[in-house]
């Protein structure tokens, strides 16, 4: 019975939907998290009577034929790169990107990864690193005798050394943008990897045309909208229930068939 397997594809799809929603809700307070959305496509159609076939030798064309769909499939889980809220933290090394762009992080294996999570700190050598201790690119070292650090909107790191009046420039933060940000691969820990789908990273100083600016003392919150997620959850659950009812009914219909004498 076709309807059994069709309803099964429906239940499977809604299960994925709930999984994506629950991951969004779980990351509601994750810095720089981008919410995901599931996108479904209908499966192939079986032509019991082909559209456009003729119903008589006079050439009458049947208006729509008989097409029976074979269910639904998960087409994509895509990230929505909408700006999250900016939360003030008053921490000198908390940075947020306002607009497009990712910070670049050097992984222990030499790869470059990208992140919107700007919770940076200094390591023992005075290098600016992520909370996992991975240095940001290009490497920036803050001298140990610095008494104040200011990072301006275009990413220049300015320090005031002990006993000096003027700020001196110790480095320039570069941000990366991609033709298709949604094509980046998430590898956890708020980090993304470049893929063939994202296109190559182009880097420039923040504030260049097309690049966002940097805000010191702020963090970007996740862009998850709890109300929207809960309503998605409800609609997914209802759809799941209805598909399970289809399975029950199909089973019922098959049951009457086997009781035929």
């Amino acid at each position: 019975m076709r309807s059994l397997s069709i309803a099964a594809t429906g239940m499977l799809a809604q299960q994925r939907n709930v999984e994506v929603v629950s991951n969004n809700l779980a990351n509601m307070n994750t810095t720089g998290f981008m919410r995901r959305r599931t996108e479904f496509h209908d499966l192939l159609y079986q032509n019991l009577r082909r559209v456009g076939s003729t119903s008589s030798d006079a050439g009458d064309i049947v208006p729509s034929g008989v097409q029976i769909g074979l269910g639904v499939k998960l087409a994509a889980v895509y990230r929505i790169h909408e700006q999250g809220n900016l939360n003030p933290t008053d921490n000198a090394f908390d940075l947020a990107v306002q607009g497009r762009g990712f910070f670049q992080v050097q992984m222990p294996n030499g790869d470059t990864t990208y992140t919107r999570d700007g919770t940076f700190q200094l390591n023992a050598n005075g290098q600016i690193v992520t909370h996992d201790g991975y240095p940001i690119l290009p490497n920036i070292t803050v001298p140990s005798n610095a008494v104040d650090v200011a990072i301006n909107t275009s990413g220049e790191v300015l320090v005031k050394l002990d006993g000096q009046v003027a700020y001196s420039n110790v480095g320039q933060i570069q941000t990366a943008i991609f033709a298709n940000e949604a094509g980046l691969e998430s590898i956890g820990s708020n980090l993304y990897l470049e893929t063939p789908a994202s296109g190559n990273a182009t880097t420039a100083a923040p504030g260049t045309t097309g690049y966002g600016t940097i805000l010191q003392g702020f963090l970007e919150t996740s862009n998850v909208n709890a109300v929207e997620e809960i309503s998605n959850l409800i609609s997914a659950q209802r759809a799941y229930e209805m598909n399970s009812k289809v399975i029950q009914t199909s089973d019922d219909m098959m049951g009457t068939l086997t009781s035929l004498r």
């Binding site: 479904f40 208006p63 769909g69 033709a179 296109g199 909208n225 289809v246 199909s250």
Partner: protein, 247 residues
């Protein structure tokens, strides 16, 4: 004598196919821009072998002649994604199919590929009214799609999305993935009504499909019990006739 069973059987087959259609509608309840499918039944009239009428009626079998799309518009849902575009009212987007032929869709869930080209989730290019693909430079931010389909960024206008309609929209053939194909000529719509940051949801009404499903299941059962009774009647007739013969 078995004709009544065959008629009931034709009804069982048709009801099973209707059930598949309902199952597909339910499975696609959350599929972007999915249009619900309905079955259309007719009675297929034949003459009985003897040419006689049974109770003034000719024999009529059930036949599902057509499935048709409910083309009503689904609700428009805000998504917050700049490349999500919903069509309000009539119309289809034009995308380039795998073999170069044009395909049509109402699913405006677009994205950019690695070259900055605007494509569907399956990577098929979306076409402008000039039949050309749409490209964005990496520096193009603030993509704005106006209600009439013109796309612009802060660096200027890029093109106008092609939105078309057809003389016989029901004759479009579904190709899966939310795509339609047809050999009809596409008629461009000059002033489509588009909504950016939004998608058209499926127009399937869960509650209505449920009631349809219950109806189908009841009809199926009653037809089945009819076959049972018919079987009993024939059995009885054979027994009775046999008795007459042995006397």
């Amino acid at each position: 004598m078995e004709t009544s069973s065959y008629i009931a059987l034709s009804r069982l087959g048709a009801l099973r196919r209707e059930m598949s259609t309902i199952a597909n509608n339910m499975a696609n309840m959350n599929t972007t821009s999915y249009k619900g499918e309905r079955m259309m039944f007719v009675d297929h009239i034949t003459r009985s072998k003897s040419g006689d009428f049974i109770a003034d009626q000719r024999l009529s079998f059930t036949r599902d002649v057509a499935s048709y799309r409910d083309t009503s518009e689904g609700t428009i849902e805000q998504t917050g994604n700049p490349l999500d575009i919903a069509i309000h009212g009539d119309g289809y987007f034009v995308v380039q199919g795998p073999n170069g032929a044009q395909q049509y869709t109402r699913n405006g869930n677009f994205r950019l590929d690695n070259t900055g080209q605007m494509v569907t989730q399956n990577g098929q290019p979306v076409l402008t009214d000039a039949g050309a693909p749409i490209f964005f430079a990496p520096e193009d931010t603030n993509i704005v799609v106006n209600g009439d389909g013109t796309i612009s960024t802060e660096n200027g206008q890029i093109g106008k999305l092609q939105v078309v309609t057809f003389d016989r929209p029901l004759a479009l053939q579904r190709a899966g993935n939310g795509l339609y194909t047809t050999d009809q000529a596409a008629i461009p719509i000059d002033r489509p009504q588009l909504a950016q940051h939004a998608l058209e949801r499926s127009n399937v009404e869960g509650v209505l499909e449920m009631t349809r499903m219950i109806e189908v299941s009841r009809r199926y059962k009653s037809t089945q019990s009819f076959i049972d009774k018919e079987d009993e009647r024939i059995r009885k007739a054979i027994n009775e006739l046999a008795k007459v013969g042995s006397n």
